[in-house]
Protein backbone atom coordinates (compact mmCIF):
# COMPACT_ATOMS: atom_id res chain seq x y z
CA UNK A 1 0.00 0.00 0.00
CA UNK A 2 2.75 2.33 1.02
CA UNK A 3 4.60 1.41 -2.19
CA UNK A 4 1.55 2.27 -4.26
CA UNK A 5 1.18 5.62 -2.46
CA UNK A 6 4.83 6.44 -3.20
CA UNK A 7 4.35 5.58 -6.87
CA UNK A 8 1.22 7.73 -7.04
CA UNK A 9 2.99 10.62 -5.36
CA UNK A 10 5.91 10.35 -7.75
CA UNK A 11 3.63 10.40 -10.77
CA UNK A 12 1.70 13.37 -9.30
CA UNK A 13 4.86 15.37 -8.67
CA UNK A 14 6.14 14.45 -12.12
CA UNK A 15 2.91 15.65 -13.72
CA UNK A 16 2.98 18.85 -11.69
CA UNK A 17 6.50 19.58 -12.85
CA UNK A 18 5.58 18.78 -16.44
CA UNK A 19 2.55 21.08 -16.37
CA UNK A 20 4.51 23.83 -14.74
CA UNK A 21 7.20 23.60 -17.44
CA UNK A 22 4.63 23.48 -20.20
CA UNK A 23 2.79 26.35 -18.54
CA UNK A 24 6.00 28.30 -18.35
CA UNK A 25 6.72 27.76 -22.01
CA UNK A 26 3.21 28.65 -22.98
CA UNK A 27 3.39 31.85 -20.88
CA UNK A 28 6.56 32.93 -22.70
CA UNK A 29 5.16 31.88 -26.01
CA UNK A 30 2.23 34.18 -25.34
CA UNK A 31 4.33 37.22 -26.28
CA UNK A 32 3.44 38.03 -29.84
CA UNK A 33 6.39 39.92 -31.23
CA UNK A 34 4.62 40.84 -34.42
CA UNK A 35 0.85 41.32 -34.58
CA UNK A 36 -0.46 42.00 -38.07
CA UNK A 37 -4.14 42.78 -37.65
CA UNK A 38 -4.04 44.74 -40.91
CA UNK A 39 -2.87 41.66 -42.77
CA UNK A 40 -0.26 43.42 -44.87
CA UNK A 41 2.59 40.97 -44.24
CA UNK A 42 3.00 37.60 -45.89
CA UNK A 43 3.38 34.48 -43.79
CA UNK A 44 7.00 34.30 -44.78
CA UNK A 45 7.59 37.90 -43.71
CA UNK A 46 5.77 37.31 -40.44
CA UNK A 47 7.88 34.28 -39.73
CA UNK A 48 11.11 36.08 -40.54
CA UNK A 49 10.21 39.10 -38.42
CA UNK A 50 9.02 36.96 -35.54
CA UNK A 51 12.29 35.04 -35.51
CA UNK A 52 14.33 38.23 -35.58
CA UNK A 53 12.34 40.01 -32.88
CA UNK A 54 12.22 36.98 -30.62
CA UNK A 55 16.00 36.66 -30.79
CA UNK A 56 16.53 40.35 -30.07
CA UNK A 57 13.99 40.27 -27.24
CA UNK A 58 15.54 37.31 -25.48
CA UNK A 59 19.10 38.56 -25.94
CA UNK A 60 18.19 41.92 -24.43
CA UNK A 61 15.66 40.57 -21.93
CA UNK A 62 13.25 43.14 -23.29
CA UNK A 63 10.27 42.50 -25.53
CA UNK A 64 10.46 44.15 -28.93
CA UNK A 65 6.97 44.17 -30.40
CA UNK A 66 5.37 45.63 -33.52
CA UNK A 67 1.62 46.00 -34.09
CA UNK A 68 -0.05 46.78 -37.41
CA UNK A 69 -3.73 47.78 -37.26
CA UNK A 70 -6.10 49.34 -39.73
CA UNK A 71 -7.66 51.83 -37.32
CA UNK A 72 -7.17 53.36 -33.92
CA UNK A 73 -10.90 53.23 -33.34
CA UNK A 74 -11.03 56.71 -31.92
CA UNK A 75 -8.10 56.29 -29.56
CA UNK A 76 -4.89 58.21 -29.77
CA UNK A 77 -1.92 56.27 -31.10
CA UNK A 78 -0.13 56.66 -27.77
CA UNK A 79 -3.08 55.38 -25.75
CA UNK A 80 -3.55 52.43 -28.09
CA UNK A 81 0.14 51.58 -27.87
CA UNK A 82 0.13 51.83 -24.08
CA UNK A 83 -2.97 49.70 -23.81
CA UNK A 84 -1.50 47.04 -26.06
CA UNK A 85 1.68 47.13 -24.02
CA UNK A 86 -0.17 46.66 -20.74
CA UNK A 87 -2.18 43.76 -22.04
CA UNK A 88 0.37 41.86 -24.09
CA UNK A 89 3.95 42.95 -23.50
CA UNK A 90 6.53 42.82 -20.75
CA UNK A 91 9.63 40.79 -20.16
CA UNK A 92 10.41 39.66 -16.64
CA UNK A 93 9.11 41.06 -13.41
CA UNK A 94 9.81 44.63 -14.51
CA UNK A 95 7.87 44.33 -17.78
CA UNK A 96 10.66 45.42 -20.06
CA UNK A 97 9.41 46.15 -23.53
CA UNK A 98 8.97 48.50 -26.47
CA UNK A 99 5.97 48.52 -28.79
CA UNK A 100 5.76 50.17 -32.19
CA UNK A 101 2.05 50.63 -32.78
CA UNK A 102 1.16 51.49 -36.40
CA UNK A 103 -2.28 52.44 -37.63
CA UNK A 104 -2.28 52.20 -41.41
CA UNK A 105 -5.71 53.74 -41.86
CA UNK A 106 -4.91 56.78 -39.69
CA UNK A 107 -1.34 57.10 -40.90
CA UNK A 108 -0.13 57.35 -37.30
CA UNK A 109 2.38 55.54 -35.22
CA UNK A 110 3.40 55.54 -31.56
CA UNK A 111 6.06 54.00 -29.40
CA UNK A 112 5.22 52.71 -25.96
CA UNK A 113 8.03 51.75 -23.63
CA UNK A 114 8.15 50.23 -20.19
CA UNK A 115 10.60 48.78 -17.67
CA UNK A 116 14.18 49.12 -18.75
CA UNK A 117 13.07 50.31 -22.19
CA UNK A 118 11.63 53.41 -20.53
CA UNK A 119 15.19 54.41 -19.62
CA UNK A 120 16.73 53.25 -22.89
CA UNK A 121 14.31 54.85 -25.34
CA UNK A 122 14.09 58.53 -24.60
CA UNK A 123 12.66 60.93 -27.15
CA UNK A 124 16.01 61.01 -28.89
CA UNK A 125 16.22 57.24 -29.46
CA UNK A 126 12.55 56.99 -30.45
CA UNK A 127 12.92 59.81 -32.95
CA UNK A 128 16.07 58.28 -34.38
CA UNK A 129 14.26 55.00 -34.98
CA UNK A 130 11.18 56.79 -36.31
CA UNK A 131 13.30 58.75 -38.79
CA UNK A 132 14.51 55.49 -40.28
CA UNK A 133 11.15 53.71 -40.15
CA UNK A 134 8.88 56.44 -41.57
CA UNK A 135 10.25 56.37 -45.14
CA UNK A 136 9.40 52.64 -45.34
CA UNK A 137 5.93 53.23 -43.91
CA UNK A 138 5.35 55.97 -46.44
CA UNK A 139 6.39 53.69 -49.27
CA UNK A 140 4.25 50.83 -47.94
CA UNK A 141 7.21 48.57 -47.24
CA UNK A 142 5.93 47.47 -43.82
CA UNK A 143 8.23 44.47 -43.64
CA UNK A 144 11.32 46.65 -43.97
CA UNK A 145 9.82 49.21 -41.60
CA UNK A 146 9.39 46.66 -38.83
CA UNK A 147 12.73 45.01 -39.54
CA UNK A 148 14.39 48.43 -39.22
CA UNK A 149 12.51 49.12 -35.99
CA UNK A 150 13.61 45.79 -34.51
CA UNK A 151 17.25 46.35 -35.49
CA UNK A 152 17.22 49.87 -34.10
CA UNK A 153 15.66 48.76 -30.84
CA UNK A 154 18.22 45.98 -30.51
CA UNK A 155 21.06 48.42 -31.17
CA UNK A 156 19.97 50.85 -28.48
CA UNK A 157 19.28 48.10 -25.95
CA UNK A 158 22.74 46.62 -26.45
CA UNK A 159 24.35 50.04 -26.46
CA UNK A 160 22.55 51.02 -23.28
CA UNK A 161 23.64 47.92 -21.40
CA UNK A 162 27.26 48.95 -22.01
CA UNK A 163 26.74 52.58 -21.14
CA UNK A 164 27.68 54.28 -17.90
CA UNK A 165 24.13 55.22 -16.99
CA UNK A 166 22.58 51.81 -17.36
CA UNK A 167 20.26 51.17 -14.49
CA UNK A 168 17.60 48.69 -13.67
CA UNK A 169 14.14 50.07 -14.31
CA UNK A 170 12.53 51.70 -11.39
CA UNK A 171 15.73 51.89 -9.37
CA UNK A 172 18.61 54.36 -9.32
CA UNK A 173 21.77 52.39 -9.88
CA UNK A 174 25.00 53.85 -8.58
CA UNK A 175 27.73 53.38 -11.09
CA UNK A 176 30.83 51.59 -9.84
CA UNK A 177 33.11 53.86 -11.83
CA UNK A 178 32.65 56.54 -9.17
CA UNK A 179 34.83 54.61 -6.72
CA UNK A 180 38.05 54.89 -8.77
CA UNK A 181 37.09 58.43 -9.82
CA UNK A 182 36.68 59.44 -6.18
CA UNK A 183 39.99 57.77 -5.31
CA UNK A 184 41.73 59.59 -8.16
CA UNK A 185 40.27 62.97 -7.20
CA UNK A 186 41.21 62.28 -3.57
CA UNK A 187 44.78 61.48 -4.57
CA UNK A 188 45.03 64.68 -6.61
CA UNK A 189 43.61 66.70 -3.72
CA UNK A 190 46.17 65.03 -1.44
CA UNK A 191 49.01 66.02 -3.75
CA UNK A 192 47.74 69.58 -4.02
CA UNK A 193 47.00 69.92 -0.31
CA UNK A 194 50.41 68.72 0.78
CA UNK A 195 52.23 70.13 -2.23
CA UNK A 196 52.16 73.65 -0.85
CA UNK A 197 53.42 72.50 2.55
CA UNK A 198 56.17 70.47 0.91
CA UNK A 199 57.19 73.36 -1.34
CA UNK A 200 57.39 75.67 1.69
CA UNK A 201 60.35 73.65 2.94
CA UNK A 202 62.36 74.64 -0.08
CA UNK A 203 63.23 78.30 -0.31
CA UNK A 204 66.61 78.23 -2.02
CA UNK A 205 65.83 78.90 -5.66
CA UNK A 206 67.65 80.30 -8.61
CA UNK A 207 66.45 83.70 -9.76
CA UNK A 208 64.91 83.87 -13.18
CA UNK A 209 65.53 87.13 -14.90
CA UNK A 210 66.51 90.43 -13.39
CA UNK A 211 63.22 92.29 -13.18
CA UNK A 212 64.12 93.69 -9.75
CA UNK A 213 66.93 95.58 -11.39
CA UNK A 214 65.12 97.14 -14.35
CA UNK A 215 65.83 100.85 -14.49
CA UNK A 216 62.63 102.78 -13.91
CA UNK A 217 60.86 103.99 -17.08
CA UNK A 218 63.61 102.57 -19.27
CA UNK A 219 61.39 100.17 -21.22
CA UNK A 220 60.82 101.55 -24.68
CA UNK A 221 59.08 99.77 -27.54
CA UNK A 222 60.23 101.52 -30.69
CA UNK A 223 59.01 98.99 -33.21
CA UNK A 224 55.59 97.33 -32.89
CA UNK A 225 54.23 95.85 -36.08
CA UNK A 226 51.78 93.18 -37.10
CA UNK A 227 51.76 91.57 -40.52
CA UNK A 228 48.92 89.35 -41.69
CA UNK A 229 50.20 86.12 -43.26
CA UNK A 230 47.34 83.77 -44.14
CA UNK A 231 44.14 82.14 -42.83
CA UNK A 232 42.80 78.64 -42.56
CA UNK A 233 39.10 77.83 -42.35
CA UNK A 234 37.76 74.55 -41.01
CA UNK A 235 34.16 73.51 -40.52
CA UNK A 236 32.34 70.90 -38.47
CA UNK A 237 28.72 69.85 -38.80
CA UNK A 238 26.49 71.39 -36.14
CA UNK A 239 24.92 69.13 -33.57
CA UNK A 240 21.16 69.39 -33.81
CA UNK A 241 20.38 66.91 -31.05
CA UNK A 242 21.45 66.93 -27.50
CA UNK A 243 23.25 63.63 -27.08
CA UNK A 244 23.82 63.98 -23.39
CA UNK A 245 21.41 62.05 -21.22
CA UNK A 246 18.20 62.46 -23.17
CA UNK A 247 14.81 63.24 -21.83
CA UNK A 248 11.66 61.31 -21.95
CA UNK A 249 8.88 63.72 -22.72
CA UNK A 250 6.05 61.24 -22.29
CA UNK A 251 6.11 59.55 -18.92
CA UNK A 252 2.52 58.38 -18.87
CA UNK A 253 0.37 55.80 -17.22
CA UNK A 254 -1.33 53.46 -19.60
CA UNK A 255 -4.79 52.08 -19.12
CA UNK A 256 -4.25 50.64 -15.70
CA UNK A 257 -0.72 49.60 -16.51
CA UNK A 258 2.73 50.87 -15.63
CA UNK A 259 4.55 54.02 -16.61
CA UNK A 260 5.25 54.26 -20.32
CA UNK A 261 7.46 56.41 -22.46
CA UNK A 262 7.83 56.89 -26.19
CA UNK A 263 6.93 59.23 -28.99
CA UNK A 264 4.32 59.32 -31.68
CA UNK A 265 3.74 60.89 -35.06
CA UNK A 266 2.23 60.62 -38.51
CA UNK A 267 3.63 59.12 -41.68
Amino acid sequence: MRKMFRSFLSVLIGLMLLFSVIGGFSAKAATTYIYDEAGVLSQEQLSSLYSQMETYSKNNQCDIVAVLVNSLNGMSAEAAADTYFDQNVGYGSTNNGIVLYISLGDGEYAFSTGGIAYDVFSDYECNEIANQVIPYLQSGDYYEAIRTFASGADYYLQHFSDSAYAAAPGEKKHNGIWAPIAAFIGAIAGWIGTGGQKAALKSVREQHGARNYVRQNSFQVQDAREQYLYSQVTRVRRQTQDNSRPTNSRPSGGGGGGVHGGTSGKF
Binding site: W178, L201, V204, E226
Partner: protein
Protein backbone atom coordinates in the same frame (compact mmCIF):
# COMPACT_ATOMS: atom_id res chain seq x y z
CA UNK B 1 102.79 91.17 2.93
CA UNK B 2 99.34 91.81 4.17
CA UNK B 3 98.44 94.14 7.01
CA UNK B 4 95.69 94.12 9.62
CA UNK B 5 93.40 97.02 10.44
CA UNK B 6 91.52 97.53 13.66
CA UNK B 7 89.56 100.56 14.70
CA UNK B 8 90.60 101.59 18.18
CA UNK B 9 88.28 103.58 20.36
CA UNK B 10 89.80 107.03 20.96
CA UNK B 11 88.30 106.90 24.46
CA UNK B 12 89.34 103.52 25.81
CA UNK B 13 91.45 101.93 23.12
CA UNK B 14 89.03 99.02 22.67
CA UNK B 15 88.24 97.67 19.23
CA UNK B 16 85.12 99.38 17.94
CA UNK B 17 82.46 97.84 15.69
CA UNK B 18 79.79 98.84 13.16
CA UNK B 19 76.42 98.95 14.91
CA UNK B 20 73.71 98.10 12.37
CA UNK B 21 70.92 99.48 14.59
CA UNK B 22 72.50 102.87 15.18
CA UNK B 23 74.12 102.91 11.73
CA UNK B 24 77.21 104.21 13.54
CA UNK B 25 80.45 102.88 14.92
CA UNK B 26 80.17 102.01 18.58
CA UNK B 27 82.70 100.89 21.16
CA UNK B 28 81.43 97.73 22.88
CA UNK B 29 83.55 98.52 25.95
CA UNK B 30 82.75 102.15 26.75
CA UNK B 31 79.60 102.55 24.52
CA UNK B 32 81.01 105.62 22.81
CA UNK B 33 79.46 106.25 19.39
CA UNK B 34 81.18 107.73 16.35
CA UNK B 35 79.60 108.97 13.15
CA UNK B 36 80.87 108.07 9.70
CA UNK B 37 82.49 111.42 8.93
CA UNK B 38 84.62 111.07 11.98
CA UNK B 39 85.52 107.57 11.03
CA UNK B 40 86.30 108.50 7.45
CA UNK B 41 88.91 110.95 8.75
CA UNK B 42 90.01 108.32 11.18
CA UNK B 43 90.30 105.79 8.37
CA UNK B 44 92.34 108.17 6.25
CA UNK B 45 94.61 108.86 9.15
CA UNK B 46 95.10 105.18 9.69
CA UNK B 47 95.95 104.73 6.05
CA UNK B 48 99.02 106.85 6.56
CA UNK B 49 100.32 104.53 9.24
CA UNK B 50 103.58 102.89 8.35
CA UNK B 51 103.25 99.22 7.67
CA UNK B 52 106.37 98.32 9.60
CA UNK B 53 104.32 97.99 12.73
CA UNK B 54 102.22 95.29 11.08
CA UNK B 55 103.86 91.99 10.50
CA UNK B 56 102.79 88.73 9.08
CA UNK B 57 104.64 85.53 9.15
CA UNK B 58 104.36 82.31 7.30
CA UNK B 59 105.71 79.33 9.10
CA UNK B 60 108.65 77.95 7.20
CA UNK B 61 108.66 74.23 6.73
CA UNK B 62 105.08 73.87 7.92
CA UNK B 63 103.29 70.56 7.70
CA UNK B 64 100.71 71.95 5.26
CA UNK B 65 101.00 70.75 1.72
CA UNK B 66 102.20 73.21 -0.84
CA UNK B 67 98.70 73.71 -2.26
CA UNK B 68 97.22 74.26 1.17
CA UNK B 69 99.95 76.61 2.25
CA UNK B 70 99.60 78.70 -0.86
CA UNK B 71 96.00 79.45 0.14
CA UNK B 72 96.79 80.33 3.76
CA UNK B 73 97.70 83.64 5.27
CA UNK B 74 98.95 84.14 8.81
CA UNK B 75 98.50 87.47 10.52
CA UNK B 76 99.45 88.80 13.94
CA UNK B 77 96.74 90.56 15.92
CA UNK B 78 97.61 94.13 16.78
CA UNK B 79 95.79 93.99 20.10
CA UNK B 80 97.00 90.78 21.68
CA UNK B 81 99.74 89.51 19.38
CA UNK B 82 97.80 86.32 18.68
CA UNK B 83 98.29 84.52 15.40
CA UNK B 84 95.36 84.66 13.01
CA UNK B 85 95.20 82.06 10.24
CA UNK B 86 92.95 82.86 7.32
CA UNK B 87 92.69 81.91 3.70
CA UNK B 88 93.83 84.09 0.86
CA UNK B 89 90.38 85.56 0.42
CA UNK B 90 89.62 86.46 4.03
CA UNK B 91 89.30 90.21 4.15
CA UNK B 92 87.79 90.78 7.58
CA UNK B 93 87.43 88.52 10.58
CA UNK B 94 87.84 88.55 14.34
CA UNK B 95 90.84 87.53 16.42
CA UNK B 96 90.20 84.06 17.90
CA UNK B 97 92.08 85.04 21.06
CA UNK B 98 90.86 88.50 21.99
CA UNK B 99 87.74 88.68 19.75
CA UNK B 100 88.70 92.04 18.31
CA UNK B 101 87.54 92.66 14.78
CA UNK B 102 90.39 92.88 12.28
CA UNK B 103 90.69 93.59 8.58
CA UNK B 104 93.29 92.28 6.18
CA UNK B 105 94.09 95.49 4.37
CA UNK B 106 96.00 93.71 1.62
CA UNK B 107 92.72 92.31 0.37
CA UNK B 108 91.28 95.78 -0.12
CA UNK B 109 94.25 97.29 -1.89
CA UNK B 110 94.48 98.36 -5.54
CA UNK B 111 92.02 96.59 -7.84
CA UNK B 112 90.73 94.56 -4.93
CA UNK B 113 89.16 97.57 -3.28
CA UNK B 114 85.37 97.35 -3.52
CA UNK B 115 83.57 100.27 -5.15
CA UNK B 116 80.55 100.08 -2.86
CA UNK B 117 79.30 98.47 0.28
CA UNK B 118 75.77 98.06 1.56
CA UNK B 119 76.08 98.28 5.34
CA UNK B 120 74.33 95.75 7.58
CA UNK B 121 70.89 97.00 8.60
CA UNK B 122 69.95 93.98 10.68
CA UNK B 123 71.83 92.47 13.58
CA UNK B 124 72.46 88.96 14.85
CA UNK B 125 69.30 88.93 16.98
CA UNK B 126 67.24 89.71 13.92
CA UNK B 127 68.85 86.74 12.16
CA UNK B 128 68.03 84.45 15.08
CA UNK B 129 64.44 85.66 15.13
CA UNK B 130 64.17 85.20 11.37
CA UNK B 131 65.33 81.60 11.71
CA UNK B 132 62.73 81.00 14.40
CA UNK B 133 60.01 82.47 12.20
CA UNK B 134 61.29 80.48 9.23
CA UNK B 135 60.91 77.21 11.15
CA UNK B 136 57.61 78.13 12.82
CA UNK B 137 55.52 78.20 9.66
CA UNK B 138 56.68 74.87 8.18
CA UNK B 139 54.02 72.24 8.80
CA UNK B 140 56.00 69.28 7.46
CA UNK B 141 59.19 70.09 9.34
CA UNK B 142 60.21 67.23 11.70
CA UNK B 143 59.22 68.26 15.21
CA UNK B 144 62.55 67.13 16.62
CA UNK B 145 64.35 69.41 14.19
CA UNK B 146 62.33 72.34 15.48
CA UNK B 147 62.69 71.38 19.15
CA UNK B 148 66.24 70.15 19.29
CA UNK B 149 67.72 72.34 16.63
CA UNK B 150 70.50 74.63 17.77
CA UNK B 151 72.49 76.91 15.59
CA UNK B 152 76.10 75.85 15.29
CA UNK B 153 77.27 79.18 13.99
CA UNK B 154 75.91 82.59 13.05
CA UNK B 155 78.17 84.90 11.16
CA UNK B 156 77.61 88.23 9.51
CA UNK B 157 79.62 88.33 6.35
CA UNK B 158 80.16 90.87 3.63
CA UNK B 159 79.93 88.83 0.46
CA UNK B 160 81.74 90.07 -2.63
CA UNK B 161 79.36 90.70 -5.54
CA UNK B 162 79.87 91.92 -9.04
CA UNK B 163 77.06 94.26 -10.00
CA UNK B 164 76.38 94.89 -13.65
CA UNK B 165 74.68 97.76 -15.48
CA UNK B 166 73.64 97.26 -19.08
CA UNK B 167 71.28 98.52 -21.76
CA UNK B 168 69.53 95.80 -23.70
CA UNK B 169 68.47 96.45 -27.30
CA UNK B 170 66.03 93.81 -28.44
CA UNK B 171 64.38 92.69 -31.63
CA UNK B 172 61.74 89.96 -31.40
CA UNK B 173 59.63 88.17 -33.94
CA UNK B 174 56.57 86.13 -33.05
CA UNK B 175 54.09 83.91 -34.89
CA UNK B 176 50.62 84.66 -33.53
CA UNK B 177 47.09 83.53 -34.30
CA UNK B 178 43.61 84.93 -33.99
CA UNK B 179 40.53 82.73 -34.22
CA UNK B 180 37.04 83.66 -35.44
CA UNK B 181 34.05 81.31 -35.46
CA UNK B 182 30.60 81.61 -37.02
CA UNK B 183 27.69 79.34 -37.86
CA UNK B 184 25.26 78.67 -40.63
CA UNK B 185 22.34 76.26 -40.22
CA UNK B 186 24.50 73.23 -40.98
CA UNK B 187 28.09 74.05 -40.14
CA UNK B 188 30.26 75.73 -37.55
CA UNK B 189 33.18 77.51 -39.22
CA UNK B 190 36.51 78.31 -37.56
CA UNK B 191 38.91 80.71 -39.20
CA UNK B 192 42.46 80.79 -37.86
CA UNK B 193 44.45 83.81 -39.04
CA UNK B 194 48.22 83.79 -38.76
CA UNK B 195 50.27 86.93 -38.16
CA UNK B 196 53.91 87.85 -37.93
CA UNK B 197 54.38 90.20 -34.98
CA UNK B 198 57.50 92.35 -34.67
CA UNK B 199 58.70 94.03 -31.51
CA UNK B 200 61.82 96.10 -31.06
CA UNK B 201 63.06 98.42 -28.37
CA UNK B 202 65.28 98.76 -25.36
CA UNK B 203 65.38 98.12 -21.65
CA UNK B 204 68.02 99.13 -19.11
CA UNK B 205 69.21 97.31 -16.02
CA UNK B 206 71.06 98.62 -13.00
CA UNK B 207 73.09 96.71 -10.46
CA UNK B 208 72.32 93.12 -11.42
CA UNK B 209 74.29 91.20 -8.81
CA UNK B 210 76.31 88.02 -9.27
CA UNK B 211 78.08 86.35 -6.35
CA UNK B 212 81.85 86.75 -6.64
CA UNK B 213 82.75 84.20 -3.97
CA UNK B 214 83.28 80.57 -4.88
CA UNK B 215 82.86 79.56 -1.23
CA UNK B 216 79.19 80.47 -1.16
CA UNK B 217 76.47 78.71 -3.09
CA UNK B 218 75.40 80.98 -5.95
CA UNK B 219 71.79 79.80 -5.73
CA UNK B 220 71.71 80.55 -1.99
CA UNK B 221 72.97 84.06 -2.68
CA UNK B 222 70.42 84.61 -5.47
CA UNK B 223 67.66 83.42 -3.17
CA UNK B 224 68.08 86.32 -0.75
CA UNK B 225 67.83 88.96 -3.47
CA UNK B 226 66.90 91.66 -4.13
CA UNK B 227 69.27 94.24 -2.67
CA UNK B 228 68.44 97.91 -2.76
CA UNK B 229 71.49 99.48 -4.26
CA UNK B 230 70.27 102.99 -3.47
CA UNK B 231 71.45 102.32 0.09
CA UNK B 232 74.95 101.40 -1.05
CA UNK B 233 77.73 103.77 0.00
CA UNK B 234 81.27 104.19 -1.26
CA UNK B 235 83.41 101.56 0.36
CA UNK B 236 84.98 102.28 3.72
CA UNK B 237 86.73 99.68 5.77
CA UNK B 238 84.92 100.98 8.84
CA UNK B 239 81.74 99.22 7.78
CA UNK B 240 83.46 95.86 7.99
CA UNK B 241 84.38 96.13 11.65
CA UNK B 242 82.64 93.37 13.59
CA UNK B 243 81.82 91.27 10.54
CA UNK B 244 83.56 88.79 8.33
CA UNK B 245 84.43 89.70 4.78
CA UNK B 246 85.83 87.94 1.78
CA UNK B 247 87.44 89.35 -1.29
CA UNK B 248 86.23 88.05 -4.60
CA UNK B 249 87.83 84.93 -6.01
CA UNK B 250 85.58 84.72 -9.08
CA UNK B 251 86.40 87.60 -11.36
CA UNK B 252 83.88 89.63 -13.32
CA UNK B 253 84.60 87.89 -16.61
CA UNK B 254 83.54 84.60 -15.08
CA UNK B 255 80.32 86.03 -13.65
CA UNK B 256 79.19 88.24 -16.52
CA UNK B 257 77.63 85.25 -18.30
CA UNK B 258 75.12 84.79 -15.50
CA UNK B 259 74.25 88.50 -15.49
CA UNK B 260 73.75 88.44 -19.25
CA UNK B 261 71.48 85.40 -18.94
CA UNK B 262 69.28 87.09 -16.35
CA UNK B 263 69.13 90.35 -18.29
CA UNK B 264 68.17 88.51 -21.46
CA UNK B 265 65.44 86.54 -19.70
CA UNK B 266 63.84 89.69 -18.32
CA UNK B 267 64.16 91.53 -21.62
CA UNK B 268 62.50 88.65 -23.43
CA UNK B 269 59.66 88.57 -20.86
CA UNK B 270 59.13 92.33 -21.09
CA UNK B 271 58.67 92.22 -24.87
CA UNK B 272 56.63 88.99 -24.75
CA UNK B 273 54.11 90.79 -22.53
CA UNK B 274 53.51 93.43 -25.18
CA UNK B 275 52.18 90.86 -27.65
CA UNK B 276 48.56 90.69 -26.63
CA UNK B 277 45.20 90.15 -28.29
CA UNK B 278 46.08 86.81 -29.86
CA UNK B 279 44.90 83.28 -29.15
CA UNK B 280 48.41 81.87 -29.40
CA UNK B 281 51.83 83.46 -29.54
CA UNK B 282 55.08 81.70 -30.32
CA UNK B 283 58.46 83.36 -30.31
CA UNK B 284 60.29 82.69 -33.56
CA UNK B 285 63.30 84.93 -33.28
CA UNK B 286 64.99 86.82 -30.50
CA UNK B 287 68.02 89.05 -30.73
CA UNK B 288 69.18 90.90 -27.64
CA UNK B 289 72.27 93.08 -27.73
CA UNK B 290 73.76 94.34 -24.48
CA UNK B 291 75.43 97.74 -24.62
CA UNK B 292 77.13 100.14 -22.23
CA UNK B 293 77.93 97.35 -19.82
CA UNK B 294 79.56 98.45 -16.59
CA UNK B 295 80.68 96.19 -13.75
CA UNK B 296 81.19 97.33 -10.19
CA UNK B 297 82.64 95.50 -7.24
CA UNK B 298 80.52 95.69 -4.08
CA UNK B 299 80.17 94.00 -0.73
CA UNK B 300 76.68 92.94 0.28
CA UNK B 301 75.65 92.06 3.85
CA UNK B 302 74.62 88.47 4.54
CA UNK B 303 73.90 86.62 7.75
CA UNK B 304 74.85 82.97 7.45
CA UNK B 305 73.53 80.41 9.93
CA UNK B 306 74.68 76.83 10.03
CA UNK B 307 73.08 73.91 11.77
CA UNK B 308 73.44 70.16 11.48
CA UNK B 309 70.79 67.47 11.91
CA UNK B 310 71.12 63.74 11.44
CA UNK B 311 74.57 64.19 10.02
CA UNK B 312 73.52 66.68 7.39
CA UNK B 313 74.55 70.31 7.26
CA UNK B 314 71.84 72.94 6.77
CA UNK B 315 72.86 76.46 5.79
CA UNK B 316 70.49 79.40 6.05
CA UNK B 317 71.09 82.87 4.73
CA UNK B 318 69.49 86.19 5.54
CA UNK B 319 69.75 89.35 3.51
CA UNK B 320 71.47 91.73 5.98
CA UNK B 321 69.67 94.65 4.38
CA UNK B 322 66.10 93.47 3.77
CA UNK B 323 65.85 90.55 6.20
CA UNK B 324 64.77 88.05 3.54
CA UNK B 325 65.55 84.63 5.00
CA UNK B 326 66.05 81.39 3.06
CA UNK B 327 67.23 77.86 3.68
CA UNK B 328 66.02 74.44 2.65
CA UNK B 329 64.60 72.26 5.42
CA UNK B 330 64.13 68.52 5.90
CA UNK B 331 60.70 66.91 5.58
CA UNK B 332 58.99 64.51 7.97
CA UNK B 333 57.98 61.80 5.49
CA UNK B 334 55.66 60.02 7.90
CA UNK B 335 53.84 63.26 8.62
CA UNK B 336 53.68 64.00 4.91
CA UNK B 337 51.97 60.71 4.03
CA UNK B 338 49.69 61.04 7.04
CA UNK B 339 48.48 64.43 5.86
CA UNK B 340 48.27 63.24 2.27
CA UNK B 341 46.14 60.28 3.33
CA UNK B 342 43.87 62.48 5.44
CA UNK B 343 43.22 64.97 2.66
CA UNK B 344 42.91 62.26 0.00
CA UNK B 345 40.58 60.16 2.18
CA UNK B 346 38.27 63.03 3.10
CA UNK B 347 38.12 64.29 -0.48
CA UNK B 348 37.49 60.82 -1.91
CA UNK B 349 34.74 60.22 0.65
CA UNK B 350 33.10 63.54 -0.17
CA UNK B 351 33.24 62.89 -3.91
CA UNK B 352 31.91 59.36 -3.51
CA UNK B 353 29.16 60.58 -1.21
CA UNK B 354 28.27 63.34 -3.65
CA UNK B 355 28.07 60.77 -6.45
CA UNK B 356 25.54 58.80 -4.43
CA UNK B 357 23.59 61.93 -3.68
CA UNK B 358 23.62 62.83 -7.35
CA UNK B 359 22.35 59.36 -8.23
CA UNK B 360 19.51 59.58 -5.74
CA UNK B 361 18.28 62.92 -7.02
Amino acid sequence: MAGLLQYKCPCCGGAIEWNSTLQKMKCPYCDTEFDLQTLQSYDQELATDKPDSMEWQQEPGSEWTEDEASGLRVYVCQSCGGEIVGDANTAATSCPYCGNPVMMMGNFAGNLKPDYVIPFKLDKEAAKKALKDHLATKKLLPKVFKDENHIDEIKGIYVPFWVFDADADAKMRYRATRVRTWNDPQWTYTETSFFQVIRGGSLSFDHVPVDGSSKLDDTLMESIEPYDFSQAVPFQTAYLAGYLADKYDVDKDQTIGRANQRIKESTQQAFDQTVTGYVSVQNEYSNIQLNNGVAKYALYPVWLLNTSWEGKQYTFAMNGQSGKFVGDLPMDKKLYWKRWGLIAGITAALVYGASWLFTML
